[in-house]
């Protein structure tokens, strides 16, 4: 069995959110190249696992490690630049898709601008027309938004993906296509939260978050 380096580790993680225990003594190690599906009822703290890794939430107890580096005030900004995060919902204000991409790629730590051809290729792969780039992001349908965020996450050229319900608004053929893409690339470490059955396939490790 392939045993890569530890990419993500949750050690004795407990999260109390507004006086309610969301997670208690949670442990999980995710190795390089692994594909992990996180399942559980809503409110069991699936998304908070992502938030803790990205430093958007502080655990009440325990630690989170990224490539054996504890996530804390010193490391968090570096950790954020190594992960491609696809949240359930993204608010970009009144920007068009193009402006949204431009903003993201203007950041120092992102450090490059993607080729236009690559963007076009991805749009085509996700069955979107070029004209979507000029549209206001806010005006797009749920499925279109989801695809744009996925495209952006791929444009960032990062190897670790945190996908929070990334396929919920896609039609089933596209769902399978996206799942194929993420599962079949051995260089990617992928953690996905999803209720879509397409993700439940061989080669994917399933982690069930217990109900409280």
């Amino acid at each position: 069995m392939y045993m890569g380096k530890n990419i993500i580790e949750y050690r004795d993680l407990s999260i109390i959110h507004s006086h309610q225990k969301v997670l208690e003594n949670f442990n999980l190690i995710i190795k390089e190249g692994e594909k992990v599906l996180i399942r559980g009822k809503s409110g069991t703290g699936k998304s908070t696992l992502f938030l803790c890794l990205l430093g958007l939430m502080r655990p009440s107890k325990g630690d989170v490690y990224f490539k054996d580096l504890p996530v804390n005030g010193n490391s968090v900004s570096v950790v954020r630049t190594k992960i491609a995060y696809v949240p359930q919902d993204v608010d970009v204000g009144r920007d068009s898709v193009n402006e949204f991409f431009d903003t993201i790629f203007s950041y120092n730590a992102v450090g490059f601008t993607p080729d236009f051809e690559k963007i076009q290729r991805l749009l085509e792969w996700f069955e979107l027309d070029d004209s979507i780039l000029k549209k206001e992001f806010k005006s797009l349908s749920g499925g279109e938004k989801q695809r744009i965020i996925l495209i952006l996450s791929l444009l960032l050229e990062r190897n670790v993906f945190l996908l929070d319900e990334p396929t919920s608004s896609l039609d089933s053929s596209l769902k399978s296509k996206v799942v194929d893409y993420f599962v079949n690339d051995p260089s990617l470490t992928v953690v996905v939260i999803s209720h879509d059955p397409q993700w439940e396939r061989e080669g994917l490790r399933v982690v069930d978050i217990p109900n409280k």
């Binding site: 990205l54 430093g55 005030g73 992960i83 608010d91």
Partner: protein, 266 residues
């Protein structure tokens, strides 16, 4: 001193007539049940007392005209201005006061001495008769913009927190992710100052100019002062707003770049 004698004195009877004028707002308040009669009596009395005290103190300060006392007076004004700004915001005054006071002092004093030194070219740049009223105009007129900047900026980030956090996740530094919010709050806080300048002289005659004209000063000299003071006010406002935004960026976020909640008033 001949010019100053041109001003008509306001005597005791003048004050009685002035007080009589207040009957009109009292009647309005009574009819519409605004309940501001008592409040306005208190506030007008308070204002009169404050101004009377200031008048007395200024008389002494102008008389002595000691550079050290004049600068000290300016610092007392700076302290009250900073305090008033913070009291007008949603932020706790204590943690912000020292930093803001230092930064505001630097900005205001730079503009102030630039004004007295290079623009009106005073022989004595510490001359109380110029220094203190001009300092008052700079601070007083930038106050509102500072309050707006402080409140708007933090609230805007709060209202659009998702957007801010997503940008952080993608790899934006705190400053990069906050940049659009900084732009917006600066624009909205500077708008009134700009609008004010745009209508100046057409819609209203500003206070300083009116004062100088009443004092017998040639209107052309009065507008020269008005133009230069307006530019100085604008510069002070921009610097003040910049300081406010920087202080919130530095103090309003923790080492994870997340918004700090306990800096707000309860």
């Amino acid at each position: 001193m001949a010019e100053i004698n041109l001003i008509q004195n306001i005597g005791v009877s003048g004050f009685i007539f002035c007080a009589l004028l207040l009957i009109l707002p009292f009647m309005v308040s009574y009819y519409f049940k605004l309940g501001i009669i008592k409040k306005s009596v208190i506030i007008v009395s308070r204002m009169s007392f404050q101004l009377f005290l200031t008048g007395l103190l200024l008389t002494v300060v102008f008389d002595i005209n000691n550079p050290l006392i004049n600068v000290l007076w300016v610092f007392v004004m700076l302290f009250f201005a900073t305090y008033t700004i913070l009291e007008g915001t949603d932020f706790k005054t204590g943690p912000f006061l020292p930093t803001m006071l230092i930064l505001f002092s630097i900005a205001n004093i730079l503009v102030l001495f630039y004004f007295t030194g290079f623009i009106i070219k005073l022989d004595d740049i510490f001359e109380a008769r110029y220094l203190i009223p001009i300092a008052g105009m700079l601070m007083g007129n930038s106050l509102r913009a500072n309050i707006v900047a402080l409140n708007d900026f933090y609230q805007d980030v709060k209202n659009n927190e998702q957007r801010y956090l997503y940008r952080l996740c993608v790899g934006a530094s705190k400053k990069e992710a906050l940049f659009p919010y900084m732009q917006r709050s600066m624009l909205s806080s500077l708008k009134p100052t700009l609008a004010n300048m745009a209508t100046m002289g057409i819609v209203f005659l500003p206070g300083m100019m009116t004062g100088q004209i009443l004092g017998g000063v040639d209107p052309i000299l009065a507008i020269k002062y008005q133009i230069t003071i307006m530019v100085a006010i604008f510069v002070t406002t921009v610097l003040g707003v910049l300081i406010c935004v920087i202080v919130v960026v530095e103090k309003g976020f923790d080492d994870y770049d997340l918004m700090v909640e306990d800096i707000k008033k309860v």
